[in-house]
Amino acid sequence: MDPDNLKQAWQSQASQTRLTIDAELLVTELRRNQQQFFATIFWRDVREIGVCLLMVPLWIYRGMSQSTPWTWYLTVPAMLWVAGYMLVDRIRYTRQPPEPSESLRQHVESSLAQVEHQIWLLRNVHRWYLLPPSLSLLAFLSQLAWLLRSGGWWTVFAVIDAIVLLALCFAAIYRLNQYAVRTVLEPRHQELETLLMSLKDEMPEIH
């Protein structure tokens, strides 16, 4: 079939389709959706950054009330580091979705940059998120073991148990993040790269 005939059929059919939109209801629905969107972003930031910041006074209070060794307080800078890192990352790479009114190519490029940054962040989660608290807790447990060395093997076993539990917990967080990269971000990255490739300049066919 000739493309121009297809175009004609498409346009005449389109002109015979009546789309009735309840604009009032739609605007109400859109306002509600937008409020939900901002609430989601706000609570995600509160959850991720706020929890870390909230842990700081709680950690200091627990340390003082239980008269723990000084290495207990090493976790405070570790948590401040994690919260600060997330905050700086939020400011540098705003999590707002790419502007939908850009051209398709610009939109794909900015989406790709955003996905690549997310992949980098999750692939390196052990460096910026897991390592600082691991080191501080390891220092605390080692000092505790030294202080309780009179307990002999029981102390050694208790500390090893705590370290293993901690390692398992952190390994689970790491694996969960890598799972998200593999199942969500990498397929999306590939899809966006394919889209971008399909928008690159092509040479006309030569007959």
Binding site: Q11, Q13, A23, E29, L30, P100, L199
Partner: protein
């Protein structure tokens, strides 16, 4: 920036360009529920982006940009599927003046086959074909996609050939 009240502008544009949104949504989804979901998502993005509309592009080009960008990044979400007591949008096919019922059926069939063929095209080719079928100029297509006019020409020629083949029942490889 906008001089008119965004809400009334949104409603006016909805009347003018709602059809384009529906066509984009139909081309990128398989079921009516998904189509309605995508239409709503596109309109939500239009609503959010409206304050940033600078007037550099024409409203129709701008609408296509938002619709296609949203459609290409859209993923079906089960949790969004909720039955509303009052439907937000309704689509109705009107009889075509001057055509008998057999001709109307044949024309609808052609359009249905076109949608089927478009869904088999790579996503950017599908976007190009949609813009072509809606009668946009090469310049407008280039503005929507962010590529050069000559590139639009090359890609569109190839996409039209593939579309023609699909309409004639030829299989399309990946």
């Amino acid at each position: 920036m906008l001089e008119e009240n965004p809400e009334s502008l949104f409603k006016n544009w909805l009347t003018e360009h709602g059809g384009a949104v529906l066509k984009v949504a139909r081309a990128y989804t398989l079921t009516t529920v998904d189509c309605q979901d995508l239409v709503q998502e596109i309109l939500l993005q239009v609503w959010r982006s409206l304050p940033q509309f600078q007037g550099r592009a024409s409203p129709s080009t701008w609408f296509y940009r938002v619709a296609l960008n949203t459609a290409l990044g859209w993923q079906r979400k089960e949790r969004r599927r909720q039955v509303r007591q009052q439907p937000i949008l309704e689509v109705e096919d009107l009889p075509v003046a001057g055509l008998n019922s057999a001709q109307q059926v044949a024309q609808r069939e052609v359009v249905e086959r076109l949608y089927l063929a478009i869904r088999q095209l790579p996503k950017t080719d599908a976007a190009l074909v949609l813009l072509y079928l809606d009668g946009l100029s090469y310049r407008q297509m280039a503005e929507v996609l962010g590529i050069s006019e000559s590139n639009v020409g090359v890609k569109l020629n190839r996409a039209k050939k593939v579309l023609g083949g699909l309409m004639n029942g030829e299989p399309h490889g990946p």
